[in-house]
Amino acid sequence: MSNYEYTDIEKTGLGKKAAGPVGWLDERLGLAGVAKKNLRKVFPEHWSFMLGEIALWSFVVLLLSGVVLTLWFQPSMGEIEYTGSYAPLRGVEMSQAYASTLHISFDIRGGLLMRQIHHWAAALFIAAMIIHMLRVFFTGAYRKPREINWLIGIGLLSMGLVEGFAGYSLPDDLLSGTGLRFVDGLIRSIPIVGSYIEFFIFGGEFPGDVIIPRLYMAHILLIPALLLGLIAAHMLLLVYHKHTQWPGPGRTEKNVVGYPMLPVYAAKAGGFFFIVFGFTALMGALVQINPVWTYGPYNPSEVTAGSQPDWYMGFVEGAVRIMPNWESTFFNYTWSWNVFVPAVLLMGVLFTVLGAWPFVERAITGDKREHHLLERPRNAPVRTAFGVAGMTMYGVFWIAGGNDIIATQFGMSINAITWVCRFAWLLLPIAAFIITKRICIALQRADTERILHGYETGIIERSPDGGFSERHAPLPESAQYTLTTHDRLPVLEAPAETDVNGVAAPHGRAAKLKARARAFYFDGAVDKPTVEDVEHANEHHGEYDGHPAELGEDFLGVSESGIPKSH
């Protein structure tokens, strides 16, 4: 494609000097075959494709800063008296884990920076994963053949949450101990086997003396190893499937258009690693995070008002806060719905729904094709509405998780906020679903309008009989094409109620249900214009005979200030 003239490889310094080493390596590893395919692999360009990269690079920052922290951190709950340089806590009895965290913060130069980089990178890691997931969801990038990669992503997110929780429990300060106490209550609420799981995890009654070492193992070995493996699989599948791309002129389901890995993406992605690392380093330098020394060592009889988990656990916290106090006793067991439902069950439901979505959608639409072109959210109104409803529910839970802060900051009644959230978590998502779907459909109509009637030029014309009208001009062909690349809506057919012999169809009920789901999924969506529509519209444009001035090829309408826009 490129019309670039390269220097003959034999004449370059690389050809002369590297041929030997390259040969040596290739004779042993035979990597040239793989490298040939991948060094100049094409990646399409769009800002939203960078979100996953943020997650990837913040994970690398976590590995690097985490390794530095392990050099001094002591994962022990053994009790010692603090003798370090932070005066307010000198002489206080505390666990070695907490004392060594103070040691890193106050006596190791750059230790505090590494702690803060690590914590900021963790917050960024989860945030980037969630936003990346939303991007993939709203553009339909999880569709065939990428469903397995979607599941791997769900695995990464769920393990990221556990990893983050394990990490902020390690310093054994008052706040992290309160978090552990919460998890202890949560584990106990698991029906029938709760107490057993609690005693096995904590090595006896809460808090015991093994939970920090065990979490440490999970935090620095078990979960990172799983995360690394899953990330490797995620990337390999990305390379194998080739990245999705936005549709546009010359960009089809059959190709991928963009820049080569070497040098452009190697430089951009490599440079981006330094940007992410630099960003977290600056955050660590400028914005304090988790100042554990102000909380003091863990003491099960103390808690600070306004205790909050890290932001990504906020939705569970909120759900727990607004859950009614239901608890029941039957079969001689106590069932703590008030904790089990909003904490354990909610997370289970969330990840199950996320994991099942691509398969549910596929079953509803019956679409078995491969998809490499992204869909604009408006062109899948029900999917988009479903996603926004989910985000709304997450948001209500998250707000409920801060109900005490909201109450104190705005002088509101905490009981009122809680009661509002008790209904809002269900009602607001329903409203969000309806509103989002209507917005999507309106945007689809606007697209059709722009294809068939062109865009508003800002030129007002007066007709001979005195009427005013605004001149429309057709969109450039490439823009028109881009707006019409999505799939045409399928024809919905009612399932046959009887088979050829007039006997009731055997799978009648399932087929009917499926037909209803399909009708719901495509209900209201606007189909793109047909060939006839466009032809008709073109004739209409042609009929126009006012022509006060030639618009010229560069003309793109008039801005609000009256200045003609051009390239």
Partner: protein, 352 residues
Amino acid sequence: MSNEIEHNAAGAVTEPIADPGLPEHQYRPTDVDPAQERRTERQISFMFGLASLLAVAFCVAYFAIDDNQTFLGWSALNFALGASLGGALLLIGVATVQWAKKLMGDHEIIEMRHPAASSEEDRYAVMKDINAGIEESGFGRRPLIRNSLLGAMGALALPAVVMLRDLGPLPYGHANTVWAKGMRVVNDVSGLPIKPADVEVGQLVNAEPAILFDVDEEGEKVLHGADALAAKAKAAVIMVRMRPEDITPSKGRENWGVDGILCFSKICTHVGCPISLWEQQTHHLLCPCHQSTFDLADNGKVIFGPAHRPLPQLPLGVDSEGYLIAMSDFPEIVAPSYPELARDQKKLGDSA
């Protein structure tokens, strides 16, 4: 699925606008203007140069700045190290991206996609190979070997599970705390015993059982480390004094207080946070974690929030020296609910 196939086959005809193909290549200023190109080159190498300087600045700061120097109210060392390191990293990143965007070749390349699936022949060959493996091994023909192998692999799961048994003891002792008849209620910080006269109306005292401060003959604490924390996690209490006429004790609890002084578990029955937010006027106690609210004048009843069980009350008395003591362990189970709670509570009731 028939409509999809039709749709695909007829796809070319039904598209209203034909694909105009990739747009013409747009040249960047740096492609056409050598002066721009040189300027960008200088900018990028300036950023790399500055990054090197900042890396050196990091080292200087590491040795030159004292641990306890402050800058704008917080660690000057942290600020200097973070700003220099972050600045160096950011500059390297920005310069590299700038290089890629402004100077590296920007001709778009088209690569063709292939279906994710392998060819039918490959799939067929793989199935044949697997079948060959099954037949040659006799996996299908020798059920005795196969089943005993599967059994052995299954049996290996047993050691793996059994190994986990020593993760912790079986659940015990949820029902009891270290409180016992005659144990003094002491201040949670000083460990000093408390007389009824020390507690004013409206006041809340954070207290603990005396055993947490007891020492043996050698001056060592009787309970320390994890044992002390575990004991404290269940036995911490709060004592409040209300006007006796405000209190509405339920049947059997009339004499659990001393002159309007009542003692309740400090551990929330929801998920176990220590409860400490006391509203004097209303006699409400609010848990800061999930806002469960308990009415201490009404036997610790839950009046709001996700907690289900009332706050357990500790019967109080006064010993011969006039100090407040517990008259028994908690008659109800403290701390968060667990599956065997109902059973344990019944046992507690029977033994009382």
